[in-house]
């Protein structure tokens, strides 16, 4: 194993059953229905790197996050972290040892902290669960240290979550994630519930912590500008599939997939005041009944027969027939 495959996700799949209840199906007819939330996703993350997944609602990016940390069992495929599989073969002690190294930061800091617990207890919980430190005094000292690390005061530990603003709560959540000395942190839309000035504080904090502690991030977001700021490599998801994967700068300077181009064109941006945009058409189709072939084909200006029939595979960092056939060339760097 090399450092570049610290996190290794292979052909990850997840299917949700969205059928009506059994009795209704018997009486009213209708077949069982399945939703392919994640459909064959592979990527690797190097140690100390930030890899981002971007996509709109229904793209399956949060489902990937939950499978990677082990909150949701995959329907297929494999997640290996530091060469230890997250599901199946690993023994439970081995998995518990792995759990300590993987933590998650959630989107809504109002729901991710137990409202009935004091902040110090919330941050101390992973320390106790993994029996990292013995003795109440030492645990308390470590909690104070962690709170200072994320820019809070050690005395804030005595407060309850509702006494903090959204940004401060997200700091508490980060302190909890660091409490077990985690190396790999999955961040699921960590700033989308925050105001911009607070978002900047949290993003800066996350980068500082990465520099200082050598953390590896899987960063999930719908916000392209935030992803651009944070990630060294980016995967773009559409309806459960990776349509493009490339280096951070490259994706923005020369996007390949038509969907990526459309997204980049759609983002309202400060520096593009009153520019003329290319018209964006259509909306994301219902994932229960996705279009055949390339799922982007109904919205794509470069669609042909093959796109409607055959699912494009990810090759050279993009899953698009038009690019593979040379009908469409990557956008030249501006």
């Amino acid at each position: 194993m090399t450092d570049s495959h610290y996190v290794d996700v292979r052909d990850l799949r997840r299917v949700f059953e969205v059928s009506k209840p059994w009795l209704n199906r018997i009486l009213e007819g209708g077949d069982r229905q399945f939703l392919k939330a994640v459909d064959g996703i592979s990527f690797q993350i190097a140690k100390g790197e930030t890899f981002a997944l971007v996509g709109e609602s229904g793209s399956g990016k949060s489902t990937v996050a939950r499978m990677v940390v082990g909150l949701l069992p995959p329907s297929g495929g494999e997640v290996r972290i530091d060469n230890v599989p997250m599901v199946g073969r690993a023994s439970s002690t081995e998995r518990q040892r792995l759990r300590r190294r993987i933590q998650m930061i959630f989107q809504d800091p109002y729901a991710s902290l137990n409202p009935r617990w004091r902040v110090a207890e919330i941050v101390a919980e992973p320390i106790r669960a993994f029996a990292l430190i013995d003795g109440e005094r030492d645990i308390k000292a470590r909690v104070g240290e962690l709170l200072s690390l994320v820019g809070l005061h050690p005395a804030d530990g005595a407060k309850f979550p509702h006494e903090f603003s959204g940004g401060q709560r997200q700091r508490v959540a980060i302190a909890r994630a660091l409490a077990s000395n985690a190396e790999f942190i999955v961040c699921d839309e960590p700033t989308s519930a925050l105001d911009v000035s607070v978002q900047a504080q949290i993003l800066n904090l996350m980068r500082d912590l990465q520099d200082r502690l050598g953390l590896t991030y899987l960063f999930i977001s719908h916000n392209l500008a935030v992803v651009r700021h944070m990630a060294s490599r980016i995967g773009v998801m559409y309806l459960g599939r990776l349509v493009e994967i490339s280096g951070g700068r490259e994706l923005f300077s020369s996007p390949k997939h038509p969907y990526t181009r459309m997204l980049l064109d759609a983002v309202p941006d400060l520096d593009m005041t009153s520019r003329q945009r290319l018209p964006v058409s259509g909306e994301i189709p219902n994932p229960i009944n996705p279009p055949s072939g390339c799922t982007f084909n109904p919205r794509c200006p470069f669609t042909n027969e093959r796109c409607r029939a055959e699912v494009p595979l990810l090759r050279d960092g993009v899953a698009c027939h038009a690019i593979h056939e040379g009908r469409l060339s990557p956008l030249a760097a501006a």
Partner: protein
């Protein structure tokens, strides 16, 4: 580097004491706003104190046959011309002081009510937590049992359990056993409401990310349920428990009135009412009137407290 991570200092962290935090809370404010609630709380507290101090306050021990004088039987209240001290509210046909009997009866009624509620709440919360958290077949099984139970009125279930236990244990039972049977049957007939409410709250709470965070560090389900989810579903349980306390007291009184509850040697308020009922038409109204009044006031004040608690804990209703 260090300074860049620091955010602005957060408002000075003066640790407020539990009491001052309570005095500052919305619940306390809404309590102070409602006169009716304060009166109800006053009455309820008075009743509870009276029940606790029954031994000190009452002039005689109504459970001790040696203290009863038949000479003193059927005396009217003290303000009546024929009334006698120390029998404040008169006496019954055995010469038992009604005031003392009410105080002791109150104690039994409250004990049965509180123990019954505690039992049903424990059972209901446990089943509700399990059903909501694990879902699937466990959930279906527990909730279908609850559905079936709901089709029988609580009083019928209590009568049924009472009858079964008595026929199994046979014949005359001592007062302590009867009390346990009452608590058990009341508990079994009221658990459904707790289970349903708790299950509903658990379905919401278990999908919140603080539960996901607890799963991430590998905590077992029992720890997550008890330490994380339980503290967040207690609000509605408290409301149900208060309202059910009134219901449990009434149920006990009904059972005792019907003759399947507390015996005449250790009467609860319901038993007193049953005894008094026999003398209503012979003119000894006080034997039934005072215990009934006490029961009505107790239940009413607890119900008012329950209503207020429901409104205070659910700001959406305001």
């Amino acid at each position: 580097m260090n300074t860049s991570i620091q955010s602005s200092p957060i408002s000075s962290s003066s640790e407020a004491s539990w009491l001052s935090r309570f005095r500052d809370s919305d619940i306390w404010a809404s309590f102070k706003r409602s006169k009716l609630t304060m009166v109800a709380a006053g009455i309820a507290v008075l009743f509870i104190l009276a029940a606790i101090c029954a031994g000190v306050l009452s002039p005689q021990d109504p459970f001790d046959p040696a203290q009863l004088e038949l000479l003193n039987s059927r005396l009217p209240p003290i303000w009546d011309a024929e009334g006698q001290a120390p029998f404040l509210l008169g006496t019954d046909e055995q010469g038992r002081d009604i005031f003392s009997a009410i105080l002791h009866g109150l104690r039994i009624s409250l004990a049965v009510g509180i123990l019954g509620v505690a039992f049903s709440a424990t059972l209901g919360i446990a089943l509700g937590l399990i059903a909501g958290y694990f879902g699937g077949f466990t959930d279906t099984l527990i909730m279908r049992i609850a559905d079936v139970q709901l089709t029988f009125p609580a009083i019928l279930i209590a009568l049924l359990i009472d009858g079964v236990v008595k026929s199994v244990l046979g014949g005359e039972l001592d007062a302590g056993t009867i009390l346990s049977v009452l608590v058990f049957s009341i508990g079994l007939s009221f658990w459904v409401q707790y289970a349903r409410t708790v299950r509903g709250s658990v379905l919401v709470e278990k999908n919140k990310d603080y539960v996901a965070a607890a799963k991430l560090i590998g905590l077992p389900a029992s720890t997550i349920l008890i330490k994380h989810i339980l503290p967040n579903v207690t609000g509605p349980v408290l409301v149900i428990a208060t309202i059910n306390l009134a219901l449990a007291i009434i149920t006990e009184a009904t059972l005792s009135f019907l003759g399947t509850g507390m015996p005449e040697t250790m009467p609860s308020l319901g038993t007193l009412i049953r005894i008094g009922n026999n003398y209503l038409f012979s003119g000894e109204w006080w034997i039934v009137a005072f215990p009934s009044f006490a029961l009505a006031m107790l239940v009413l004040s607890i119900n008012l407290l329950g209503d207020w608690l429901r409104d205070a804990l659910n700001p959406k209703l305001r």
